[in-house]
């Protein structure tokens, strides 16, 4: 879902398309996938499977890293030490998740440097949800509850994706993710049960984050030509609409329980199906934001580029120090060998 509907092809570079021809390799690959056996880094795979996964996994990784920014905004202003420690741990986890995913993407034959270049130049995308600003402390609750909640809906099926390194990264991420959602829900519940101003702040955060969270699942699959192929390759396991409905059904009662309302006049429980029906999503907004015209797109990218460029001296120093240490160790060895004669 961090990568659904982000189907703009990664531009430039040569694209070896030789590996898709039918043949015994492709048949073996298809049989492996159909039998729910994992594809591992050295296995033969169609070039388009490799390319799709590099795009999806790296964009997922970019989303985690960029996702640290809206919440990082509030670390210095957390109201209590408990909240501050929890938020710090969550943001630290997001960094770690990005790293697991970059490591998984790299097993497909792409370098970390290339992936950063794609993000920083705007060639690669990240989840559009992170292009919205965090205006109040209550946004920390809304993000944990809704954004991480939506992410969990998508990430659990990904634990069974056909590519081994990606599925193993997802299993690790899912174990860590549920604290994120609980932290957010506890935060926003506390506000909703507080003073009238606190409750109003909680309601305002829900009002602003609800629709963008629904958009995280991407448009209906009938509009995506990549969905069918992703399903056949067992990368994608459920449709966008199914996951979105599951999220709504789980989340609406959680909001009502703490006395909050959802900003959707069409939201109603269908007694027969047991599902919560909801109103029309404004897909124009989604495409506008994903396309670069959301409230924070430029700021997010500038922040990432600056962090990377400002950190160059650290990377250079680390490499220089390693080399110096190695040279010194070799000199010591040579001196010892000389002394022993």
């Amino acid at each position: 879902m961090y990568t659904q509907a982000l189907n703009a092809p990664v531009s430039a570079g040569t694209e070896p398309e030789t590996e898709d021809e039918s043949g015994p390799d492709l048949d073996r690959f298809d049989a492996q996938v159909a039998a729910e056996q994992k594809i591992e880094p050295n296995d033969w795979m169609p070039a388009s499977y490799r390319k799709t996964l590099v795009r999806q996994i790296s964009q997922h990784a970019h989303s985690e890293i960029v996702g640290m920014l809206p919440e990082g905004n509030w670390i210095t202003r957390a109201p209590t030490l408990r909240r501050k420690a929890a938020l710090l741990a969550k943001v630290q986890d997001e960094g770690g998740h990005g790293l697991y995913l970059y490591a998984a993407a790299e097993t497909l034959g792409v370098s970390r440097e290339e992936l950063f270049e794609q993000l920083h130049s705007g060639k690669a995308k990240y989840s559009s949800i992170f292009n919205y600003p965090t205006l109040t402390w209550a946004d920390m609750g809304a993000i944990g509850w809704l954004v991480d909640g939506a992410a969990i809906m998508n990430q659990i099926p990904l634990c069974r994706c056909s590519y081994g390194p990606y599925s193993r990264a997802m299993i690790r991420i899912c174990k860590e993710e549920s604290f994120h959602q609980r932290q957010g829900y506890e935060l926003i519940s506390t506000l909703a049960k507080g003073t009238p101003q606190q409750k109003a702040m909680a309601q305002d955060a829900l009002n602003r984050w609800w629709w963008p969270s629904l958009m995280m699942f991407g448009p209906s699959d009938s509009e995506s030509k990549h969905s069918a192929q992703s399903m056949a390759w067992k990368i994608k396991r459920f449709s966008n609409d199914d996951l979105r409905q599951k999220f709504v059904d789980a989340t609406v009662p959680q909001g009502h329980f703490i006395g909050l309302e959802f900003p959707d006049p069409d939201l109603r429980l269908n007694q027969e199906t047991g599902h919560w029906e909801f109103g029309e999503i404004d897909w124009q907004e989604f495409f506008r934001v994903v396309g670069g015209d959301g409230p924070c797109n430029r700021e997010r990218l500038q922040t990432r580029v600056k962090a990377y460029e400002d950190g160059a001296w650290v990377r250079e120093a680390a490499l220089a120090f390693s080399q110096k240490r190695q040279t010194r160790a070799q000199a010591d060895e040579a001196a010892l060998a000389g002394a022993a004669e």
């Binding site: 050295n42 770690g96 790293l99 490591a103 998984a104 390693s322």
Partner: protein
């Protein structure tokens, strides 16, 4: 100036004594000591490890998946290596 690429290391973690180290991913770092610290930060935030090994990725030799069939064929066809191949009367009890 073009930046030098940071070397890649594979990370193996042992969760408890008596268990084997398991591969859990990779890190980029300038040398072994920094790789250990990076691995600690990335892969053990919840006390998952008692021991970390880091190995330069280049040092690992892997069998070729294409050879799977011929490499492992002998192991598939020697069923007499398994206890279920042998009959032991029930009266004798568990063996």
């Amino acid at each position: 100036m073009t930046e030098q690429k940071m070397p890649l290391w594979e990370v193996f973690i042992r969760a408890r004594t008596g268990m084997a180290h398991r591969h859990c991913g990779s890190v980029h770092a300038g040398d072994a000591e920094m790789a250990l610290q990076a691995a600690r930060d990335v892969y053990t935030r919840r006390g998952e490890g008692l021991s970390i090994w880091v190995v330069p990725s280049q040092a690992i030799t892997a069998s070729d998946p294409k050879d799977k069939g011929s490499l492992f064929e002998p192991t598939a066809s020697k069923i007499y290596r398994h206890p279920t191949f042998y009959e032991v009367p029930e009266e004798v009890g568990n063996m």
